[in-house]
Amino acid sequence: MAEKEYAYYTGCSLEGTAVEYDMSMRQVFKALGVGIIEPEDWSCCGSTPAHTVDRVFAAALAARNLTIIEKMGTGIVTVPCPSCLSVLKRAHLGMTQDESFRNEVNELLDEPYEGGVVPKSTLQVMLEDVGLDAIASKVTHALPGLVVAPYYGCILTRPPEIAQFDDPENPVSMDKILEAVGVKVADYAFKLECCGAAFGVPKRDMVNRLTYRVLSMALEAGANCIAVACPLCQQNLDLRQGQVNSTMGSSFNLPILYFSQIVGLTYGLSPKELGMDKLVVSADDIVRSRITIEELAQREANAKAAEAEAKAAEKLKKAKAKEEDTKTEET
């Protein structure tokens, strides 16, 4: 695995409000031996406003980066942000499937894009290229008591023609990765319901209501934490949780972690290098609950022993009772 190198398109959010996603993702990749290189002088992909202007224009903004990545020769670019990913994939697929579209886009560019880059989410690279076994093999710590509701957001797997990854109605990739690192996952029906992040700024009320639904469904599913793979979702659910509480009269206090942060915690990485302190809703309790897997094994063994003891006592009691019964019958 270690030899393989990927281009890593960070995207603007991960330089700003989602810096902890970037930090933790890089740490996890490093732990897994996945080499990543940041394309030199990348620019914003144009998500999300560009596509309201023109399809060709939107594709051109994305394709400028594809051209840069194509020259790097890695073949695959891995993208943490689903919004960027979707835009890059749309541009890539549109340009490889339709020649006239490609020509139109290339007319707007200084250097043409030839179609030699495959954009994949970081989630997809972890699941398909690294593999669950390899992911599991690096685990050194456990997070007992943590129940995670994985929240995929709307465009990570949709529409299936563009995303070409996981199930568009019931995605499981993040569930699988989290389970692989030994975290308990809640079956959760709102994995995909849009949280409205794209309108965070201009339509705050609308977004608060959508966010409210997602948070309350997670809580209902028994989760005490939400895992995300999208900077916009994270920002919306985390940063706006207070806003939601004040407008909707709720009292949510659900930490919203990037899946990479959770994986990083199980790898024994320090909370600092995973950017845990950057979260608005504190995840300190989760960090504090962390124990080593040896400790966990000890705990489990103790619990088992206790259970067995209790069972034996129960049995003894029953047998005694029976004895009493037969005695009474005899008499």
């Binding site: 199930d167 568009p168 109605e169 019931n170 029906a189 709102f190 469904m217 209902e220």
Partner: protein, 653 residues
């Protein structure tokens, strides 16, 4: 050779855009044409008389009729010339209506095209040879595939008509889907109560031989003479000894077998009689669940059986039956729940299918007619019905309507209210399709008298919330998104072709559409015939249909069989392939490609090997002719020379 050419005006249909007089004049100049004329309506009685008279008067020996499509009137004119003493294959038609006058705007161009098209027909007819049918004996037994209501009807009608019937049913009992239904629309009478007597009739009819739990292995032969191999699947119970007492089922320790009859609503025993009214009422072991098979030890049923009918060593058995005609009534299937991830894809136990709900409603079903939620066995108060779950859904490759769901949903909504008076039903629908007799009134009744709330719109998703299922849909009439918190959701899952439909079609040499439904010979005028003579269709194997339509088709297919068998001999179509034994080199490539197995190897005196056509099996496709390198096998009426004559008539460099 004296060819007569008759050019039809078809009123103004042809004459309006083709100069028919000029065409006739041009044709008169063609070598071989002895007579050419144009006539107002050639297919009319006087028109046909004109042809007959001209044959006599002008001493014509070949006829070309330039008129409409041969698919329309070829048979008419063949009879006409036959009456005038010519062999019926001395006729060619030039299609100057559908292919010319109706589709070309320019009269000049049309006229030239018509003249050339008629010349092609003349060139071909001069190559035509007289062909004669031969006759052969019919085996007056009929095979019915499928023991659902359509197949049983066909079997009973054929049997009552005096024919011997072989009825093959894939599952352990006849009855099909109808036997699983609780009530039937629009009369709400009990399904098994009206079907049961028919099932008994099938079992007791002295003309009907029933093979239950059997499948078609192979079919050889042709109309009048089919040889059918039937696989009697191993039941591990000797049915000649089994009395159907049910003791084995009672004592069987494997309680978690999948219940195919009840569509898995509840588990059954590994040895079971599928339902109380089963015909034949015999037990059968499911080796996927039986401990004797999975673990290698148990033997409870063998110990308990009063007649010693259990036989764990039983093997499949192949039997051969000879019949003259086949009725295919192999029924339908239902789309899998896993096609609907947005509805849980089968993960939510309280999202069930319509047919599963029938079993919950049914007094002889696993809950004895009590409607309960599979998850916790409580009575649901809010039931949501989702119509078109998969039907009319191009994204799932099912663009068609499943025909009867609208009706059974209305029925189930009514029954729900009957069973649970304080319940409320919601029906999500796109259109209510109820064109049958008394059908629309019935769907109205569900709403007017039983208070079912019909919501026009699709359901986008279903998710669990606590003990409830939240159904999110649209009410397009209100123009809003709607939500229902349901206790139970019933999906009217789309009707598909029966599993294995395509493989059966291949064995029968009948066509099936992209969805696997069998294709009738003509959508309007030959609805139960197939393009393979002697094979007829009945019921939902041809396309989704309800009980009355299936029964009607069963009877119709039986009538077709009886009509076919009313004669002792059948006439073969002479437009089949013929082998020139002098030029045939015996390479037998034709045998390799014949789709019907109509070609045999034959050794001539002197040891020369040649191909030989079984005329009654040959369907006349001509694949052999285009395969044969030496032109020794020629499809009569479409020989190389006949087609070359047409090519040469228009391609002269």
């Amino acid at each position: 050779m004296r060819v007569g050419v008759f050019i039809c005006h078809c009123g103004s249909n042809i004459a309006g855009t083709v100069d028919v007089a000029r065409a006739a004049a041009e044709l008169r100049k063609v070598p071989g044409v002895a007579f050419a004329t144009n006539y107002m309506y050639t297919c009319s009685e006087p028109g046909q008389d004109e042809i007959k008279q001209a044959i006599k008067r002008e001493n014509l020996d070949r006829i070309v009729v330039a008129a409409c499509s041969p698919r329309m009137h070829e048979l008419t004119f063949r009879r006409t010339i036959e009456k005038a003493g010519l062999n019926r294959y001395f006729l060619e038609m030039a299609n100057i209506r559908e292919h010319i006058s109706w589709v070309g705007l320019d009269k000049e161009a049309n006229t030239i095209k018509a003249i050339e098209t008629i010349k092609m027909a003349v060139a071909k007819v001069m190559q035509n040879k007289p062909l004669y049918s031969s006759s052969f004996k019919i085996n007056k037994r009929v095979l019915v595939i499928g023991g659902g209501v359509a197949g049983m009807q066909a079997a009973l009608d054929c049997g009552d008509g005096g024919l011997e019937v072989v009825l093959v049913e894939k599952s352990p009992s006849v009855g099909g889907m109808m036997a699983r239904l609780d009530k039937t629309f629009p009369t709400i009478d009990c399904s098994i109560c009206i079907l049961g007597p028919k099932m008994v009739d099938v079992a007791q009819h002295d003309k009907i031989k029933l093979y239950a739990y059997s499948e078609i292995e192979d079919i050889k032969g042709y109309v009048g003479n089919y040889e059918v191999k039937i696989r009697k699947k191993a039941t591990y119970v000797d049915w000649t000894k089994c009395t159907g007492c049910g003791l084995c089922m009672e004592k069987c320790p494997s309680k978690n077998s999948y219940d195919y009859f009840n569509f898995g609503v509840a588990p059954t025993k590994a040895i079971n009689i599928p339902f109380p009214q089963a015909i034949p009422k015999k037990a059968k072991i499911d080796p996927d669940f039986c401990r004797q098979f999975t673990k290698g030890k148990c033997g409870v049923c063998a110990k308990i059986c009063p007649t010693g009918a259990i036989n764990y060593e039983m093997q499949d058995e192949i039997v051969t039956e000879e019949v003259g005609a086949i009725v295919v009534a192999s029924g339908y299937g239902l789309i899998d729940m896993d096609k609907f991830p947005e509805y849980g894809g089968g993960r939510y136990p309280d999202v069930i299918t319509g047919i599963q709900y029938e079993r919950l409603l049914n007094a002889s079903g696993p809950t004895e007619g009590h409607i309960v939620r599979p998850s916790d066995h409580t009575e649901p108060k809010t039931v949501v019905f989702v119509s078109c779950a998969g039907s009319r859904d191009k994204s799932l490759g099912i663009p068609y309507c499943s025909n009867f769901c609208c009706m059974y949903i209305a029925k189930q909504a009514i029954l729900t209210k009957d069973h649970i008076p304080d319940s409320q039903s919601y029906v999500f629908y796109m259109d209510i399709r109820s064109p049958g007799k008394g059908y629309d009134e019935f769907t109205r009744r569900a709403q007017e008298d039983y208070g079912a709330k019909y919501v026009r719109g699709r359901v986008s998703r279903i998710y669990p919330k606590g003990k409830k299922l939240v159904v999110v849909g649209a009410d397009t009439l209100l123009g809003t998104q709607v939500e229902v918190e349901a206790d139970l959701v019933v999906l009217a899952t789309a009707v598909t072709a029966a599993p294995g439909a395509a493989q059966l079609a291949e064995k029968l040499h009948i066509s099936y559409d992209t969805f696997g439904f069998y294709v009738e010979s003509h959508p309007k005028l030959r609805p139960v015939e197939t393009n393979t003579s002697g094979v007829f269709l009945a019921g939902a194997a041809q396309g989704p249909k309800d009980i009355p339509a299936s029964v009607g088709q069963g009877s119709a297919a039986a009538a077709k069989v009886l009509a076919l068998f009313s004669k002792d001999m059948l006439e073969s179509d002479p437009a089949v392939a013929k082998v020139n034994e002098n030029t045939c080199v015996g390479c037998l490539k034709c045998k390799l490609t014949c789709p019907f197995g109509a070609i045999q190897e034959k050794e001539l005196r002197g040891g020369k090997i040649v191909a030989s056509v079984i005329e009654t099996v040959c369907a006349g496709c001509g694949v052999c002719t285009s395969t044969c390198p030496c032109g020794a096998i020629q499809l009569s009426h479409f020989t190389d020379n006949q087609l070359l004559a047409e090519v040469n008539a228009i391609c002269q460099k």
